[in-house]
Amino acid sequence: MNEITSALLLLTPLLPVVLAFPPLRSRISHPCYIALLPAIVLLLVPSVVPIELPWLLLGSGLGVDGASRWLLAMSVVIWTAAATLLPKPGNHAADNRFTVFFLLTMAGNLGAIVATDMVGFFSFSALMGYGFYGLLVSGGDKTARRAGRIYISFMIAADLLLFEVLLIAASTTSEMAFESVRLAVSGSASPGLYVSLVLAGFALKAGVWPFHSWLPLAFRSARPAVALLVGGVPIAMGLLGMVRWLPLGEITLPGMGLIIRILGAAAIIYAIVAGVKRSQLKLLPAYTAMIATGFFSIALGAGLADPAVWNQYGNIPYFFIVSLGFGMVIVVAAICWLQTDHHAPAAIVKQEDDPSLWIERCAGAVVRWGGKLGCETLPRLRSAWLAKAGSLLQVCAWRKAVDAAEYSLQRWILAITLFLLLGLVTVFLAAM
């Protein structure tokens, strides 16, 4: 029995990856549904023994506990719903690629849920993030690509921050399982840095205000299947990461709690104001999500300020995440259904030049100016300097001098005279 559940655990993230392999996928009729099967079966198994995979990465583990069972269920439902919206597998290259990204994102999502250690969670969420970026961008119009680019910028920044978090964690404890890290960090001298890095990292990933700018764009332009996934995949996993990684209920950081609560409140106010101002039906899910994450932040801030409060919550945060996911699905589906008359199916939109993001403009400017100022001209500058130095040293003159010296050395008279002189010097030196 244990072996079967272990295999199921392994297969949950593995099967989608395997199915993403193009030759396999094209031979199977409904790869997106089949990929979900191990997860579904896993949900039916009453008790799952977590497994240790010491050979995987830096030693990982997989497992399903009470909270993550709910999350898994939510994911399965969301992915099934999204799969129904997928275009029929055809010969279109863009659709094929879309399916690949779909499966990869699925693998990342399911894997992150069943991961029991930080490195595993980090790896799966990275896979999920890059896959989701592909989903956003492939076949979308220019707004979608813009959203994708903002998303990937945030994600890289988030990954960097979370990598630091991992390093800090690893230097405090050798075990990377959630529980032991939580314990170790809460016992460490200054958990503040750790906590703030985790918060910033996952806020970037989940699109929490003020890192929300890709959310409205995504909802405005993405395919229905992708719009359906936004709530359950990046947002839910970001919030889950906070809950899993933070030593909540064990440390007391009142200052930080206050700040987070203020930020949460600001997010809610902003979302309401912006949502009323735009008043576009399609953008409603985005503002809903922002309001939800704002509430979550307030709750989290309260938990940080006072561990007792957090401990009272119990499993509520998990349920909150689950219901957020479900709620988003419903909202999106409803809006889809409302707009289905005048919503053209997402197809290949005419490719045109995208207006670049501010971050890209900055990066581009850095590259341009950096190139002009230093790096590109550096070899030229160096060679110019060398040339200058060369002219100072006058290589030509040196050459002439060398030639002239050899010429005079080749002359019989001078050479022999020199030789005499040397003979004399030798003798006198020796005689001394």
């Binding site: 008279i413 005279t417 005499l420 003798v427």
Partner: protein
Amino acid sequence: MRSAGRRWHYLLFRWALMLLLLAVAVGLGYALLSLPQQAVGLSEQVSANMATSGVQNPVTAVLLNFRGYDTLLEMAVLLVALLGVWSLGSAEVHRKIDPEPVLSLLVGGLAPMMILMAGYLLWAGTNTPGGAFQAGSVLAAAGILLLLSSKRFPVRLMGWPLRVVLLLGLGTFAAVGMTLLFVSGGFLQYPSSLAGAFILFIEAAATLSIGVTLAALFLGGRPQAGPYR
């Protein structure tokens, strides 16, 4: 201006060189004067071994017996010089001149005399000053005289016979040395009883070779006959 400057440089250089050479000369003179007052040489050893050398003239004894190996190599030097001259090109054809009758007569008379003289010098070398090189020089002088007076040597002598004569000295020397290696067990180690004969034999061959080699050197190039043409 420029040439004047050069000239000045040249003069300066000359004077510097003279001073330098003066220093060399002074140093050399000082070294010579500082030598021990009494000659430290090999006179004693030479006179002690004269009895077994086979000859009475100590110079010949040193040349052909005590330090005979040097002389052997010296013959090789002559051969190398000749080959070197030959490698430069063939001898120029001398102008066909009609020698004056006086010269012709003189040469006709002198040459046999000189050959005879060479023979005497060779013979005398065993006990008084004289020897192979002196004899050879005289022989060479005779040959050069003949050449100058446009006496042509027969072409068939310019090939193989000429080369044999040229090699005679070196060849004999080396052959005797090798033979002695088997006879008395040492290279150029004469049995004391036969030393005189061996030395005379070698000297005779060497005289002939030296004479002909020097005359051939005078020609300044390869002979116009034979495979070296």
